[in-house]
């Protein structure tokens, strides 16, 4: 069953990049999201903030299609299509990218090889010709410099033995290579020192484009000093309880999340 079209009146304007309506979800039988609403128009960067256990990572995994995350109500429209009906790889190929909070180690698979397989999977889906090794490496070389990633790291097995900072930079590199329409960054700032944070922020800023949206999930305001969001949402107990401009992030830092939910 398709949920009712909520923007049927707005026939002239295109569907927003991401539109989440009344979304509820269970993990292992436990309700984590409880009627979450959120609209991310193309070209904008939104931050989702909230205390531990508020459902931030659940939202990220649900959008990306991880098994065990079950929608119980509501809808998620991505460019007008029902996102949650697609298998995870199709979402990725359609342009949904998740920057993992804990990037997964894949022993024996060089980072560059992995990335080429991913980029070509997306290109095949778009009916674009696959990149051969030389073409791919040329692009990879440009992007890796932006993130201060050495050639040596790209030859190492993906995330295997990477430091926390290397893992996060590798995630951003993948994002730059895959050029998603929607990037969901799950606590990409956690565990980074200030230099690494700046590099990661530069990578995110480089990706800002009118046809692209970025959803930054974060616990702290710190990242927002370098990537200025168009809007900040506060997630609490599985719902968006407040939304506002970047000033909301500053307020939260002073008053804490408890006050924010009370204010809702």
């Amino acid at each position: 069953m398709k949920p009712p079209e909520r923007h049927s009146a707005m026939t002239d304007s295109p569907a927003p990049l991401l539109e989440i309506a009344g979304l509820s979800a269970n993990v292992a039988g436990k309700a984590i999201l409880n009627g979450l609403d959120l609209v991310l128009p193309a070209g904008e960067v939104h931050a989702i903030m909230g205390p531990n256990g508020s459902g931030k990572s659940t939202l990220a995994y649900l959008l990306a299609g991880r098994e065990g995350y079950e929608r119980t109500a509501g809808s998620v429209r991505f460019l007008g299509r029902e996102l949650l009906d697609m298998p995870p790889e199709e979402r990725a190929r359609e342009g949904v990218f998740l920057g993992f909070q804990y990037p997964v180690e894949i022993p024996g698979v060089p980072t560059a090889s992995f990335l080429r397989a991913a980029v070509n999977a997306v290109r095949r889906h778009r009916a674009e010709p696959e990149l051969d090794a030389a073409q791919f490496l040329k692009i990879l070389k440009e992007r890796r410099k932006q993130l201060n990633i050495g050639d040596e790291m790209l030859g190492r097995a993906l995330n295997t033995g990477f430091s926390g900072g290397e893992k996060k930079r590798a995630e951003i590199l993948q994002m730059l290579m895959l050029e998603p329409r929607l990037a969901i960054l799950d606590e990409t700032d956690s565990g980074l020192d200030i230099d690494a944070l700046k590099i990661v922020a530069d990578g995110i800023n480089a990706l800002r484009r009118p046809d692209r949206g970025i959803l930054m999930i974060t616990h702290y305001r710190r990242l927002l000093d370098y990537v200025s969001p168009d809007r900040v949402h506060v997630l609490s107990e599985g719902r968006i309880v407040r939304a506002g401009g970047v000033e909301l992030a500053h307020e939260l830092e002073k008053t804490g999340y408890g006050a924010a939910s009370v204010a809702a």
Partner: protein, 487 residues
């Protein structure tokens, strides 16, 4: 990166039906000549006469046959199968049109077409560059390419039948010296009824200028394939040899009991690679090849090296332990193995490293992957004899499980009779994780590609040992063998 035209790509092979991933399951319709069904002394004499063999070889075969009648099948491996009726099979089957060595122009076009379909073109203008191929079809070799070119540098590369005719002194000097005719049930059976195989001799000081390769094809029904391969690397020589194997999809099991003997003299090296893709049977375990093989090499000379690399993806049952006898001082034995079992496949495979000489070294890297309801066992022996002063061994055994109905087992035997020996054994068992698969899928890879990628990464250390021309194909094969193992 290997050029695609160098790798034996199976693109032209017909897509098989039920087994999905198995692309080599077709049957060539060709007129065959067979020995009468069953096994007795007359069968042995028939084969020997067919090949016009000298008396000493017939005697050797008959000794083997008599020994075999008093032996029983080994039962210590972790594999299960119904009893084999050795009288209900053919021991010799050859295309009628191949009475002896012929020029390629005279070969039955059906045979050429078969090898084309398998991605091994034999015609002069279409051959794989840089790789000489001996094509063995059921019981006989149908063609060996680049023979003349190799002969220019003194390398002998021909079928075993030709070698017996044209180089009897070499065959007689070395045959059965590494794997004696009485060695074990299957090797002894092979000694009695072997029909063909490849023969390689690299003269002193020669580095073989191209990869040598034998492509084994079983085609006929109810027929066992018993090939025998003998490779001799004389002093200070080097050769890299690769064998590939495929068979049609049939509901009956077929026996493949081969023997391979390697002999390496002073300062010489043999690199022996196998990509084994015999028909594995269907998802329910019907059909498939019983691959009961004895492979052993002797590092006879000082500073000699044998390196075995195997990628075992096919066969219903694999029973195989490519081994090294490290006799020469400073000799080196290496064993790199990938064994993939899916559905109902069973593999009991590993190696034996027998250290006899001083300063001998061995390395074992085994990667076992089990999926479906398959069972995979690593079984290996490291033995240090009293004279093997300062012997070294390092063993790494890793098992990867896909799903929760398969099994992986590691059975190492370590025997040290010299206190100066240093032996290391590491083993791990892991499951392919949901996290890894989800991560790959989130980057756009299909579940099949995700499994293939993770497994290829797991096997990387071994895949890197393969000649470059074959590494790309082997990677694809790894993925294909596991199709249907997730989701």
């Amino acid at each position: 990166m290997a050029k695609t035209n160098m790798a034996p790509t199976p693109e032209s092979a017909s897509l098989s039906n039920a087994a999905g991933a198995y692309k080599y399951g077709f049957i060539t319709d060709i007129e065959m000549e067979s020995a009468p069904k069953g096994l007795n002394e007359d069968t042995v004499r028939f084969i020997s006469a067919k090949k016009d063999e000298p008396e000493w070889l017939l005697e050797w075969r008959l000794r083997a046959f008599r020994a075999w009648t008093g032996m029983s099948e080994p039962d210590w491996a972790q594999v299960a199968y119904p009893p084999i009726d050795y009288q209900d099979a053919y021991y010799y089957a050859a295309p009628k049109t191949v009475p002896g060595p012929k020029s390629l122009n005279e070969i039955d076009p059906k045979l050429l077409a078969t090898y084309d379909k398998l991605g091994i073109p034999l015609r002069e203008q279409e051959r794989l560059s840089g790789i000489a191929v001996d094509a063995v079809f059921d019981s006989v070799s149908v063609a060996t390419t680049f023979r003349e070119k190799l002969a220019e540098v003194g390398v002998i590369f021909c079928s075993m039948s030709d070698a017996i005719k044209n180089h009897p002194e070499l065959v007689r000097k070395y045959l059965g010296t590494v794997v004696p005719y009485s060695d074990n049930f299957f090797a002894t059976l092979n000694s009695a009824v072997f029909t063909d195989g490849s023969f390689v001799y690299i003269p002193p000081g020669v580095r073989c200028p191209m990869e040598l390769s034998t492509y084994f094809r079983i085609n006929a029904a109810n027929t066992g394939q018993f090939e025998r391969t003998l490779i001799i690397a004389d002093r200070d020589s080097y050769v890299s040899y690769l064998e590939g194997c495929t068979a049609p999809m049939r509901d009956e099991n077929q026996l493949h009991a081969a023997v391979v003997e390697l002999i390496v003299l002073d300062d010489a090296e043999i690199k022996y690679s196998t990509v084994q893709n015999w028909y594995p049977g269907d998802e329910e375990g019907r059909g498939g090849i019983y691959n009961f093989v004895t492979k052993r090499g002797a590092c006879r000379g000082k500073n000699s090296t044998i390196s075995w690399t195997q990628v075992e993806t096919g066969s219903a049952i694999t029973w195989k332990y490519p081994s090294c006898i490290l006799q020469g001082e400073n000799s080196v034995g290496k064993f790199y193995s990938i064994a993939i079992t899916n559905n109902r496949q069973q593999a009991d495979t590993g190696t034996k490293m027998i250290h006899l000489g001083r300063n001998t070294r061995s390395t074992i890297v085994s990667k076992g992957i089990s999926a479906g309801r398959a069972q995979s066992t690593y079984r290996g022996l490291v033995r240090i004899q009293p004279g093997a002063e300062n012997a070294r061994n390092h063993t790494q055994c890793d098992s990867l499980l896909i799903g929760d109905r398969c099994g992986a087992h590691t059975v190492p035997y370590i025997e040290s009779r010299n206190r100066s020996a240093r032996i290391e054994h590491e083993a791990t068992t892991s499951k392919i994780s949901e996290d890894q698969l989800f991560y790959c899928r989130q980057r756009g890879l299909s579940p099949e590609d995700a499994v293939s990628l993770v497994v290829n990464g797991f096997c990387r250390e071994v895949l890197q040992q393969l000649p470059m021309e074959f590494a790309v194909e082997a990677q694809k094969l790894v993925g294909l063998s596991l199709e249907g193992s997730v989701g």
